[in-house]
Symmetry: C2
Subunit: 460 residues, 2 copies
């Protein structure tokens, strides 16, 4: 499977894709072995850039016969090595299938090819009054987001990618083309195959077209920053805000280390104490003022030190931009280092416990680590900077990752809230899923009996 | 498989369940062959009432060896024959596993056994400030709702059952016990097996415990009734209300026939014209007044004839109760008849088309049929009353059902928005799913190779 392509195989691919869309060159191949994780693999045997479902159907049917491993590729923004070709073969770069095929505002729907980037999709939607609200931070492709069931800052209100995919065209590992789902807003028609493919990280086939649900662009936005004396009171406020039905559009926790860094790197002057960044969307300023007042009351009941807010204000946007850019800021502050990002989630009442635990682990291991996360979803991140070539240091980063994930599982959570399994989380799958991992593997073997689709991911 | 239980098999079941929880008696068996669909089957060989996961694990492992068909049973409120034992064997009545195991308000979660009825669950949640918002109308069990991915009036805001199930304990057909999912609000950890089981109608195993997400009880509720000159303008208003982000908690369309019947049977005095019943939930009266004003403006822009609303008002509740009781009202108005309920869904812009089409089909076939539905989800229902023993009349009811479903599929919708496939919709599965039905069947055969779990459902 890891063997180079034969001359015959290369001729076939050249015939189908031409020299513009098939390459065995080292620069093309080396562009497809790095996502933003620290994982590194050998270059694949070649890269193809298909442009249609039919091309992918023909390619996969052929690769299935030839037993060539296939690894789909989107934006390369994943954090667990999810699209790296660990067993060589062909990388299928989807970025030339990047058309927005149809916008149907009257149905709140859009049809896309999977290679479209989410920011470009929203650019093309501007003016329709609608947007695709899932925001994982990075400018991922829609196909990559589907593969990973991506989510992010706004998921607490708007949901994850799985909540937006209505219908998909999928090429199965043997080249068969199927359509799953439909364009009605709900259905109880047979097994929900769509949800099986969403989050399967390209291990079951390649999505070649998708119909997405859209949301109305909120008329007004309110942003608030709230400081707390400690993590416990901040987390208590999170549970109160969610439980009271205020429906925040974002509810982010930042701990001291990250705030110090943002002050330094982004020229801010924030108080260095656990803080919540909140966002609310509403149909009017009046209703948002009410939400702001109620949120303030709840936060103050939980011991908030300060509560500042603004509606559609530039200043608040600057703060949010700084939060959005946290990963880039951490990278910039640690030149020449790689990052290892912890991603785990717990029930929201256990959030303070896992955050305190993570802070302590960072301290105990003496690593550069910044703890924050999507508190409204119980999703914690620790971004750590280190040098993978310094084995002793990197081992300490890995230890923090291990400890926090194990803690999250102990608290009935999950080893990944949004980054997927890829290479990095395979080792936690048995611990998290117990006997059900066997059923997952049986489904993998049923759909991909030769193990050719994105091999080496999810399963060890 | 349809053979009666041997004396040995009966002894074994008696040993395990005792005479209180195992019966081959005709009254027990005949209580388990009627849901509210017109489908009728022969009585099963016996009924058991298990009380724990372990009991079900042992039962299924044994039944797998003995090759006895197993059909799980909840409240018997389904409409497509979903829990009827078409191949005899054992009915597993889940209603003695009806405990609410733990309420965790701090996590907005509850753990339940599947036999708890949804109204009883909400009764036990009262006082917590939380509720389980999926409302299919009937007082179904949670297990039945999971099996069918039930939804209903409030799904336009709150989502379907699938959106509320976080973790499940499942007994597979061979008796193996697995846990799927976790208790974090989101996850990207491997294949989403939970979603595969939700909506699988008991054909893949039996859910024996579930952790459900809950919602905050809304502080204030607004109900509005809006009349329109025609279906087109009513449907246009639906799209506007959804697209503007007003987030209705319910958005129901009623057509003339049903309104006439409600006037007569419920002593109401509604104008006989296409009407929307809307509900909005909010944190304050002020914000709801704003929503009401904006909704009125949108409806009037679409040509509404009248717009009446009230916040937390008794009068509006009476109207809603009448809508809720529509099925019972239709039954009462047609004594001695059975009902056949059409359930299909389409993209919301196609809703007027399918509603007009259904009204015409009812007229053309000369049947007693009432057209209404969850317009905010594009979900249409036609409740028809007729006599299954009058083959000619019943054929006309079936014809309406066929025509409306085929129309919904032509409009890129689904053959069932919320009632599931059961027996009644099997014939549409190939038309709706094409090649992907083969993959569904392969998964069925993978998990239930002997075809013992709720046989004869979903697949023909």
């Amino acid at each position: 499977m890891g063997a180079p392509l034969t001359r015959q195989q290369q001729s076939q691919l050249l015939e189908w894709f031409g020299p513009d869309r098939f390459s065995t060159g080292s620069s093309a191949c080396e562009l497809h072995i790095h996502d933003i994780s620290p994982h590194r693999v050998e270059p694949p045997s070649g890269v193809v850039w298909p442009q249609s479902t039919e091309e992918i159907g023909r390619l996969l049917a052929w690769a299935y016969q030839e037993e060539i491993a296939i690894t789909p590729w989107g934006a390369g923004t994943s954090t667990e090595g999810n699209p790296l070709p660990v067993k060589g073969g062909l990388v299928v770069d989807m970025t030339r299938m990047n058309r927005v095929l149809a916008i149907r505002p009257e149905d709140l729907q859009v049809d896309v090819e999977p290679g479209v980037f989410r920011r470009e999709l929203n650019r093309q939607l501007s003016g329709s009054g609608l947007f695709f609200p899932v925001d994982p931070g990075a400018d991922a492709t829609i196909g990559g987001m589907i593969a990973n069931n991506a989510s992010g800052v706004k998921t607490v209100k708007y949901g994850a990618t799985k909540d937006y995919v209505m219908q998909m065209t999928i090429v199965l590992p043997d080249g068969e083309i199927i359509t799953v789902g439909n364009r009605a807003h709900k259905s109880s028609s047979g097994y929900d195959l769509g949800k099986l493919f969403i989050g399967s990280e390209g291990t079951l086939g390649i999505v070649t077209e998708a119909t997405l649900r859209l949301s109305g662009v909120p008329e007004n936005q309110l942003a608030a920053t709230v400081t707390f004396p400690d993590l416990g009171s901040a987390s208590e406020a999170v549970a109160m805000i969610i439980g009271t039905g205020l429906e925040p559009a974002a509810l982010e926790l930042l701990t001291e280390g990250l705030i110090e860094l943002m002050n330094k790197e982004n020229g801010l002057d924030l108080e260095v104490t656990p803080s919540l960044f909140c966002e609310f969307h509403g149909i009017s300023r009046t209703s948002l003022e009410e939400v702001a007042a109620l949120a303030r009351e709840l936060c103050e009941d939980c011991g908030a030190l300060s509560y500042q807010y603004g509606i559609d204000e530039h200043e608040r946007r600057t703060l949010w931009q700084a939060r959005h850019d946290a990963w880039e800021t951490i990278n910039r502050a640690h030149p020449g280092k790689n990052t290892l990002i912890v991603d785990a989630a717990v029930p929201i009442s256990r959030y303070p416990e896992v955050v305190v635990f993570a802070n302590q682990a960072v301290k105990d291991q003496g690593v550069h680590g910044y703890v924050f996360g999507h508190a409204g979803d119980g999703n914690i991140h620790v971004v750590m900077a280190g040098d993978p070539d310094d084995q002793e240091e990197w081992r300490r980063l890995e230890t923090v990752n291990h400890l926090v994930v194990e803690k999250a599982l102990e608290l009935k959570g999950t080893c990944t809230g949004e980054h997927g399994v890829g290479i990095g989380k395979r080792k936690f799958m048995a611990l998290e899923h117990g006997a059900s991992i066997t059923l997952m593997k049986k489904i993998k073997d049923l759909i991909d009996p030769k193990g050719l689709m994105n091999p080496g991911k999810i399963f060890s």
